[in-house]
Every structure is written in C-alpha cells, then in structure tokens.
Amino acid sequence: MSNLLLAQEGLVDPVRSIAYSSFAPELLLVGVALFLMLLTVAEENRSAVAIPAGVLAGAVGVWLITSGLLLPGAVVVAVAAAVVALPFAFEDEPALISAWLAALSALGALVLTGWQWAEHFSVDGGLGVARLDLGGSLAFDGIALFTRITVYATVVLAIPVGYGYLKDRGIHRPEFEQLMLLSAVGMTILGAAADLITAFIAVETLSLALYVMAGLARRDRRSQEAAIKYFVMGAVASALLLYGMALLYIATGSVEIAAIAEGLGLVTAPGRVAYFGLALVTVGLGFKVALVPFHLWTPDVYQGAPTNVTAFMAAATKAAGFAFILRMYLLGFGRLVDAWVPVLAVLAAITMILGAVVALVQSDVKRILAYSSLAHAGYAAIGVAAGGLDGLSSTLWYLLTYAVTVVGAFACVIAIERRRKGEVALVDLRGLGKRSPALAGLFTLALLSLAGIPPTAGFQGKLAVFQAGVSAGLEWLVVVGVLSSVIAAFFYLRIMAMMFLEEPEPDAPEPNVSTGLSLGLAASAAAVVVLGVLPATLLTLADNAATLAR
C-alpha cells in the first residue's frame, strides 16, 4: 500500500524496488519456456543451447543460495540440472525433453509458490500480509498464491497426461509445452492482477495461448472449428470486457482495483457509468468462466479441442478467471454488492441448472463433461455471490478441488479416446469396468468427485461453497445447487452405469494408458482422495488465502 502511494507520488522508482520474489514462479516458467523455444530453434544442436543455459541458470541458483534464499536457489539449481541433463537423456526423443522440463518447472513453480507462502504467510493460522508489488500491478495476497497452486498443480498434472495423447494423435509439437507454460503464467498473473491493464493483458495472454492450443490438431476439423469459435467469441468478449473496464475508468478515474473500489464509493461517482461498466465486465468475465448465457462456446470448444487442452482449460482457466472475478467483485465492486450479488446469484443458478440439464441429453463424454463444467462454474459462482471471507476461501478451495478432479476425469477420457481421435461417445465406455477395472475405477472416482459424493475432493469443495452460500443467506441458491447436483448426478451415473453395468463390446479397443497418463491419473486420484478425506491442511491454506491486497 505504502509502496503504491509512494510510487504514485513519484518518490520511489518502482523499477529499482522490484520484488522479484513476488513473481518468482512466473520467472522460472518464463525462463524455461524461453529456453524451450531456443531448444526448438536449435534443432540438432541442443547441447549447444542447453549447456550454457544450464550453467547460467545454475549460477543464478548458486547465487540465490549464497544470498540466503535457500529454497528458491535449490529449485533453480534443480531446474538447471534438468536443463543440462534432459537433452542428453532423451537424445532420441526431443519431445520428451520439453515435456519433462515443463512438468518439472511447473513442479518447481509449485515449490516456489510454497516458498512464497511460507515466507510471507503463516501456513497454519492467521491471515497473511497482503501487499501490492510493482507499483500496484501485482497483488501479493492469498488469492494470487492460491491461484498459483491451482494453476500450477493443473499444469503438473496436465503435461504428463497430455504428452502421450498428443504423441499418439500425431499432433504433438515442441511449442505445445511452451504455450501451456506461458498460458499458465498468464493465468497466475490474472489471478494476481491488481489493475485493469494487467488483467486485460493477462486475459489476452492466456486466451491467445489457448486459442492456439485448441487448434493444435490441424488436420482435425473439430479442433479447428473449436479454435476459430473460441477465438472469434473470445475476441468479442474481450472487447466487451475492455469496454466495461474503460467505463469503470471513466467512472472512477483509475485502473487500479483498489482505487476503483474507493472511487465507486464516492457520492460523486457517476453511478450510471459504473453500473454500465459493471454489466459489461460481468459479460466479459462471465464469458471467460462460462456463466450462462455467456457459455455457448464452452461445449463446442471443450469437445473440439484436444482433450488435454480441454482439461487444462476447464481446470486452470476457471481458476484464474474466478480469481480475478473474486478480486474484481469482492474488492472492486465491494460497494455495489446490492447490485451485483442478486445478478450473479441468478446467473449462478441458471448456469448450474442449465449445465446439469443439458448434459443429460448428451452422448459424447467430452461434451457431457463440458456441460458439467458449466454447472461447476455455477457452483463456484455461489461462493462469489456469497462474498465475504467465507465466499472467497470457499471459491478458491472449490476451484482447486475441481481442478484436480477434472484433470483426472479428462485423463480417463484420453485413455479411452485412443483410437477415436477426438471423440468419445458414451457407448465407447461400455463394459470398461470389466475390460479395465482400474481405469474405470479411477474414472468413477473422478465422476463421484464431480458429483460431490463424499469422501472426495469434489464433496469438500461443494461443501465449502454451499456453506458459504448458506451463511450468506443465499439458501435458495444453495437449494438450486442441490437440485442441479441431483440432476448432474444422473448423468454421472449414466457414465458409471455404462462402465459397470453394461457388457463390453467384443472388439472394443483397449484403453491406452501411457506412463505419463498413469502418473497424472494416479496423482489426480490421490489428490481427490486426500483432499476429500483429509482436507485440513489445504483447506487451512484456502482459509488463509482469503486476503485481498488493496
């Protein structure tokens, strides 16, 4: 705060006081992404790039360690070691280098996030200190950190899951991992964006990467269609969002969310402009997290995009989008709660019901999961509408539980998708419980988690948002959520029934479970169970994450 004021006064040059530690994970990822770019360019002369880069990174790591930053230094050193080692380890399989390195760096980012947390927050109890860095653009607070956890965890899970799949479909490209890392960086920046400009650029960064990733399967018309649809609609939505932001700037004279919050509280604020802006921002953000009626792209894009991209989109984009929604609404529009809470509640209600209902009549598993993700956006919106610290932490928590679950679910789809190349009809699952009980079991676990049946992560998530909703007096909304859950359970049950209650077709192809996939799947399943049964630690984190830097 003081930093911000000083910066505005022009007394402190923020450039010289850059707090690198507040975006250390992003630095790491961007560095790795750039390195991977170089590696791609280097083609056969990988060692020529890798060794200097590794040495450089190692030197940075050692410097960090010697200057007392033990953990981040260790992470950097480890990544540096990987940078040097991996090109030699996978000389014949260059694609594996980038996959491994990306996954490792995401893991490293996760560790760095933990380090950030430990440095600046107390893990077990008490709200941490929230602050704004970089002149007020980068929030260093609970939401930002928790979003990092969710996004990076998603990346850690999604990269091994996706690698084999892309290879199998013949659409793996070295740029894929770079795009995913950079997109993840965009997402975390969105989660930490404290002013509208940063937010807008972050939105565009992650969106552009996703457009490209959605269209990765160039020979698959569905993938192309998904990409172009996503892009066109995303562009329109961005424009609407941008216009909304501009209107807020008109109304308050500032692009900083905290300042907007104050500006909107003034009696002199032009209310009409503010409300106009609020409406358009809602449209734009609603589009990003797929709230009805701005959801229309979701089923098509989720179905058409390569499945691992869908998983990443469903899990991480939602997390980032909701993180910004939380910041924007709870902080920025904190004075206008009377206006937006009912609207958001209604949107949440429609979203939940529509997502669950329309999924009933789908026959493509990816599409079913897409519609279910709609319903889940609705549940998360309950937390936002509930507001307060409860709503804040419950939404974050919900998004994490949803992320680990949905990646697992899509990983199972990937395993089954093997030969169908981009589509998995419900009937393809017939008898999976017999053919491949372990896979069917894990899929069931994921589905139960999506349905919110204890003792899974999904239940804990739903519990949290419902609890926030009830304590905020939105009982009706929670009841709608309940109804939607029941309807949704119906189609989850249909999938389960297909797997366990039907006989397998004789010539059904074996599911394809690559090493990476099984790793990711196992990790996701473990996370689902652990978060479901013993959520205490991470739930405490989510609770502590209920801080907003202003």
């Binding site: 770019m37 920046i189 399967a217 589509e423």
Partner: protein, 237 residues
C-alpha cells in the same frame, strides 16, 4: 498532423473551443460513417478500406483529446501494420469471397440493430447530463461542487506540461507505474509469436512422422455427437 496535434493540445489551454468542436463533429461523422460502411459493404476490400478511414478519424480524435502520441501510434500500428496484415490475408485468400452478406436474414439485422441501439441508449443514459454539460468541457472552470450529475473535465494540460509533452507523459507512466504490464505484454507478444509459428508452419517433421505412423485422421461426415440411432433416452422415463 503536427498542426492538428498542436491545435488539439493547445486548444484547451487557450480555451478556444471552436476548433475542437469542428474537429470533433467532422471526425465523428467520418468515423461513424466509415464504421457503418465497413459493416454493410459487400466487398471485403472496401470494408477494410473503410476501417482504415475509421481508424484515421479516431487518430484525429486522439489529437483532439490531447493524446497526439496515441494518434500517431494509431496511424502507424493500426492503419499501417494491422490493416496491411488484413489486406494481405484478404489477398492471400482471394478477394471475391464477400458475397455472404446477402444471406443474412432481415431478422438478424433487426436484432443486431436493436442490440446496438440498446448499447447506444445505455451510453446516452450514462453520459448525457453527467458529462455533456458545460462543466464537462475540458479546460472549463471547475464547478463549485462536484457531483455525479456533472463530472468536470480536468484536462491533461498540467500533465503535459509537467512531463514535457505527450510522449514524456506516456513514457513516465509506462516505465514507472506500468512496468509490470509492459513486461507481460512482452510475454503476450511471445505467445502470439509462438502461436503464429504453430499455426503458420505448413508442415513439420513431427507431423510427418505421425502421419506415416498412423492412418489418416478420420473425417467424420456428419456431426459426430449426434448419431441418430444412438440418441439416448434417459433411463427415468
């Protein structure tokens, strides 16, 4: 251009509103007209040209708004780079393809017009009064009481003076307060570059290898998610 910029920049300072008014109305009409033309013209190249005109009009309006640097950037980047890119693609794909407009059903036009009207009405509702009164004239004396009904226009004169002109003004802000967005906009450009590479590369080795290894991608003829026979009927019925 320089003159206009100067006029715009100084207009407020000298409180001579007339040039700005003329400038505004002319450019507004041109911009809106070009926009309308762009939307409704059949020939895609014509549309693109209309857009260029619109961009130019907007650039002029930037000048009037004491943002001459932006006006120049607008001309260079938009009209100069982006629109060229558009035209390039149009040429690449063939120019005779815009016969699609005729297929639009009138209902769509009416609907679109209604949407547009609502947005315009909302903006009129929002701005008229609060920002169209005389107090909102930039450079005018600040009213005694600031209220939501009339927002004064502060103007950028002080800022421009303090920062040695529009470029300095923008640069100061950009490289101090907005370092972080500046950095991540670099990221954005990297992403765009990678994306363009991925999308633009005609053929890559991995692709080829995969194609050799596997049978060709299936080309479903009908919508794959709606097999007519497999239409599911929910169990509870």
């Amino acid at each position: 251009m320089t003159f206009l910029a100067q006029a715009g920049a100084d207009g407020a300072a000298t409180a001579s509103a007339l040039p700005e008014q003329i400038l505004f109305w002319v450019m507004a009409v041109i911009g809106i007209g070009a926009g309308l033309a762009m939307v409704s013209m059949r020939n895609i190249v014509h549309s693109a040209l209309m857009l260029v005109i619109n961009f130019a009009a907007i650039a002029v309006l930037y000048l009037a708004l004491q943002s001459s640097f932006l006006g120049i950037v607008q001309i260079i980047v938009y009209a100069g780079a982006i629109m060229i890119l558009f035209l390039f693609v149009i040429m690449l794909l063939g120019v005779d393809r815009d016969d699609l407009l005729v297929e639009i059903r009138p209902a769509h036009r009416v609907g679109a017009a209604l949407v547009a009207l609502v947005i315009v009405a909302a903006s009129v509702f929002s701005f008229v009064g609060a920002m169209t009164s005389e107090e909102s004239r930039c450079g005018a004396l600040a009213p005694a009481t600031v209220s939501a009904e009339s927002i004064p226009c502060v103007g950028l004169d002080d800022q421009l003076e303090e920062n040695d002109g529009p470029v300095g003004l923008l640069a100061r802000r950009l490289f101090t307060r907005y370092t972080w967005p500046f950095e991540i906009s670099a990221l954005l450009l990297v992403v765009a570059t990678i994306g363009a590479i991925v999308l633009g590369r005609r053929r890559d080795p991995a692709d080829e290898a995969a194609r050799r290894a596997l049978e060709p991608e299936p080309e479903p003829t009908g919508p794959p998610d709606l097999p007519p026979s497999a239409e599911p009927s929910p169990e509870v019925s």
